[in-house]
């Protein structure tokens, strides 16, 4: 459909849907370009609604990075909310880009970001709304190339039928090369197959259809590569000069309220703490920092270009950033008079972090969140969370003394080796904290989901019945003055667990679930476990088998052909140490833990950027 026609029909629809601002595409710093034959058009797709998708930093980086080039047009698309979807289906309007209202099926490339497993049905639904064949094998040269990347790309198998090409690693590093090669192929009218074959040569690119995988009951029996040209293993690609790498300063600013409505300034990537449950901590290695000088320049440009009232210093662990104290002092000094506040996304459990929180929150003492993750020292040692009860109590006392009235304590249920004692530990720890002055304590629990490429990738998800008992136990016991409890719906984690460590056989389940009407699964009010059970049954598979599977340590895993740089031997060793409740220290301050990241990615030093300054 021509965009004029789409616009005409939307004129009639938009006044009737909730928050039409979601679909306008005229935000500050949005890029409006002409489309033409000699340009490559890219639709950047986030499979959730606007408020969530617009909060995502990765899309913003890619959007501005690609639009810097005259030969690329990059536009955005998010999952339309229920009311708009009904209307565009009724009016036969194909899914369109926000900026130009161009039909998504007319773009050269459609790129999805894979941020969480429960967004997968939305990908299928968006492809369907875009009138693009759902399965890769049904697409022709006339259809866009459907690509995906992001953290879930470290096990892309459950999506292998639907995505033509997966980017493993940091897209900033290879997206331009991908587009250049695409453009070259497009110009000489290469067939779809030729094009895919050529793209498969780029390091970090995985094209699932070139790989045939044989499965046993759980493990992989064998993986066959279709021809010699495609690599047997796909190696994650990372930015090596993180200080110099492009970062947008013409940041998009929405009109409407979104989930994270602020400037995100990424100070570092990767985390060296080595918590054993944490996938981000493994897959985003090595740790790289931007220099304080660059961050101050970027802050100034970002504030000038957006007018935002808040700048958040983001990373997996911002209080670990080498110059964090100096950076925050300078930013607060420079911008508080303009009414711009500086914020930190999370805090480590130590007095240093309270000092930082003091600096950024000179006025308002809102709540603080700490994540002991587990209730006893033994279990915290199992997961390598280097926090002691003493640290926690001291830190919270310091926070209380500085004026904070509320703390949130975050724990996970269902961690490997968890016993009743660990649950009792959550209760007693929370009660000890609640004795500090008149502080209010909210205990927030979620269910641990074992993730690929972590030391716990071999182990089962905790039985749902047990999780429910554990929540009941906490409900009964976490009572008292100043105490409250909140928890996440464990059914959602159950499905997340199945897909996180899933394999190709789940493609059929996903397809069936979508046909049955599953979408927006990460929204508990729209999630329906019974539909998913049905989808599994109709595919001849069992949700329980996937959720509760244990892999043999010697088995070939469904995601073993994706190499994230951290070796499997290291993960095994970490798993063994977990069972022995033995700690592994942070390589930032101690010796190398031989995770393999530097050797595998052929990088000379860890903590790139940071060490240049830390000696002074």
């Amino acid at each position: 459909m021509e965009r004029q026609e789409i616009e005409k029909r939307l004129e009639k629809i938009l006044p009737k849907v909730s928050k039409p601002t979601r679909y306008l595409g005229n935000e500050l710093n949005a890029v409006h370009k002409e489309f033409s034959q000699d340009k490559v058009s890219v639709a950047l797709a986030f499979p959730d609604r606007y408020e969530v998708g617009m909060s995502h930093l990765g899309i913003k980086i890619l959007y501005h990075l690609l639009n810097r080039r005259d030969d690329i047009v990059a536009e955005r698309v998010y999952a339309p909310w229920f009311d708009l979807e009904d209307k565009i289906r009724e009016m036969k309007i194909p899914l369109f880009s926000l900026e130009s209202k161009e039909a998504i099926n007319r773009f050269d490339i459609v790129g999805f970001t894979l941020q969480y497993e429960l967004s997968y049905t939305n990908i299928l639904n968006m492809l369907d709304l875009a009138q693009i064949p759902l399965k890769s094998k049904d697409r022709t040269k006339e259809d866009p190339l459907v690509i995906a990347g992001g953290p879930c790309a470290v096990n892309p198998e459950p999506l292998a039928d639907f995505i033509d090409l997966i980017v493993v690693g940091e897209a900033e590093e290879l997206i331009e090369e991908l587009i250049d090669r695409y453009k070259e192929g497009k110009n000489r009218e290469a067939t779809r197959d030729q094009l895919l074959r050529e793209l498969a040569q780029i390091p970090g690119i995985y094209i699932p259809e070139f790989y045939k995988i044989d499965y046993g009951k759980t493990e992989v029996l064998g993986l066959k590569v279709e021809n010699d040209e495609v690599p047997e293993e796909i190696l994650k690609q990372v930015i090596t000069d993180f200080d110099e790498v492009y970062y947008p300063t013409e940041f998009l600013v929405p009109f409407m309220d979104i989930v994270h409505d602020r400037i995100n300034l990424e100070v570092a990537r990767g985390c060296s703490r080595g918590c054993r449950f944490c996938q981000a901590g493994m897959i985003y290695r090595p740790v790289r920092e931007k220099s304080q000088e660059r961050l101050e320049e970027l802050s100034s440009d970002l504030i000038n270009n957006t007018g935002y009232e808040e700048l958040s210093l983001t990373s997996l662990s911002t209080s670990d950033y080498s110059q964090v104290k100096e950076l925050i002092s300078n930013l607060v000094d420079d911008y508080s008079k303009l009414g711009v506040s500086i914020s930190l996304p999370s805090l480590r459990t130590d007095s240093f972090s309270i000092e930082l929180a003091e600096k950024v929150q000179k006025v308002r003492k809102t709540g603080l969140t700490f994540a002991p993750e587990a209730g006893t020292q033994r279990l915290r040692d199992v997961i390598n969370k280097g926090v002691t009860e003493e640290d926690l109590l001291k830190t919270i006392q310091a926070a209380y003394d500085s004026g904070w009235q509320r703390v949130k304590l975050y724990f996970m249920l269902g961690l490997p080796t968890e016993t009743e004692e660990d649950l009792a530990g959550i209760v007693s720890l929370a009660k000890k904290v609640a004795k500090i002055g008149k502080i209010k304590v909210n205990v927030s629990v979620s269910t641990f989901v074992p993730k690929p490429h972590t030391p716990f990738q071999w182990v089962s998800f905790n039985r749902l019945t047990e999780i429910k008992d554990k929540i009941n136990y906490l409900q009964k016991n976490l009572r008292g003055k100043g105490l409250s409890l909140s928890w996440n719906e464990p059914n959602l984690s159950l499905l997340e667990a199945a897909f996180a460590r899933g394999d190709r056989r789940l493609n059929e389940v996903l397809f069936k679930a979508w046909e049955l009407g599953c979408k927006f699964d990460s929204w508990s009010e729209h999630f329906d476990i019974e539909l998913w059970q049905k989808a599994f049954n109709e595919s001849g598979l069992s949700l329980d088998d996937y959720t509760y599977r244990n892999f043999d340590l010697g088995a070939r895993l469904p995601w073993d052909h994706i190499n994230i740089g951290v070796t499997k031997d290291y993960l095994k060793e970490e798993y063994q140490k977990a069972l022995d409740a033995e700690l592994t220290s942070d390589c930032r301050s101690d010796k190398c833990t031989t995770c393999g990241i530097l050797q595998n990615l052929a990088i000379d030093e860890c903590l790139i950027g940071g060490e240049k300054y830390s000696e002074n």
Binding site: L14, P15, K16, K19, P20, T21, L24, N26, E27, L28, V253, F255, M256, D257, I303, N304, N305, T306, G307, Y308, E309, L338, G339, V340, V363, R364
Partner: protein, 235 residues
């Protein structure tokens, strides 16, 4: 110092809410490096106050907003710098420095003028429409019901709240009506309520959206005298 400004909110931004507009202005002021004042307290808010909120979907060529600045600033520069930073669809049309003790817009404005486009089901003669509007204005009582969240419905007579009502244009199968109605804290009539009342009496028009409404002006009405918020501040 206090600055009173008249802004236009046009088609590209017709769907942004009152709160969105507030944030958009605050951010534009910051980009323009205009020294806007902030409230004291835990959660400093920029000192910006509106006349009356515009419903989502309605466009306007007369949104009045007061700005309190920390220091002296040239009003011409204020208009120029802010316009450079405002997104397409929002524009400062007029600015005046006003006395510090001027009452708030909210307390002053009591009338708003609208242009409303109605799509007709079939062609109707101009005289007939004029007659309809005239008849409407000759009524004493026209009761409408307003639904309220978490409260019982409110019934009220809208007739005294309609000061003027006339036909401004007829085009093929649509008409433009122009009306001056009561707004503000001592009584507020919404343009869609007027349309609803009209449609109930004369079922000549098709389905109606707020996107067919445009706010032309906001006034301080004193008996038969109609003053703009600028005139009131500077008298």
């Amino acid at each position: 110092m206090k600055i009173r400004a008249k802004l236009a909110k046009r088609d590209p931004v017709k769907f942004i809410s009152h709160l969105d507009l507030m944030n958009t202005l605050t951010r534009a002021l910051r980009r323009a490096k205009i020294p806007i004042g902030f409230s004291q307290g835990y959660n400093p808010r920029p000192l910006i106050s509106f006349g009356s909120a515009l419903a989502v979907g309605i466009t306007s060529s007369s949104e009045y907003i007061d700005f309190e600045l920390k220091e002296k600033y040239r009003v011409a520069k204020f208009k120029q710098e802010l316009n450079l930073e405002l997104p397409i669809g929002i524009k400062v049309l007029e600015v005046e420095e006003i006395p510090q003790q001027t009452k708030s817009l909210m307390a002053q404005i009591n009338a708003a003028e609208y242009k409303i486009k109605l799509q007709l089901k079939e062609e109707v003669k101009q005289e007939e429409i004029e007659k309809m509007l005239q008849d409407f204005m000759e009524e004493e009582e026209i009761i409408v019901v307003r639904k309220r969240r978490n409260k019982s419905d409110r019934k009220f007579n809208l007739r005294p709240m309609v000061f003027k009502l006339g036909l401004s244009d007829v085009k093929d199968e649509s008409i433009l009506i122009r009306t001056l109605i009561q707004t503000g804290s001592s009584g507020n009539l919404r343009p869609e309520e007027l349309v609803k009342a009209l449609k109930e009496r004369y079922p000549i028009s098709e389905e109606f959206n707020l996107t067919n409404v445009h706010r032309l002006g906001m006034y301080v009405k004193r008996k038969e005298e109609l003053l703009t918020p600028f005139e009131v501040a500077l008298e």
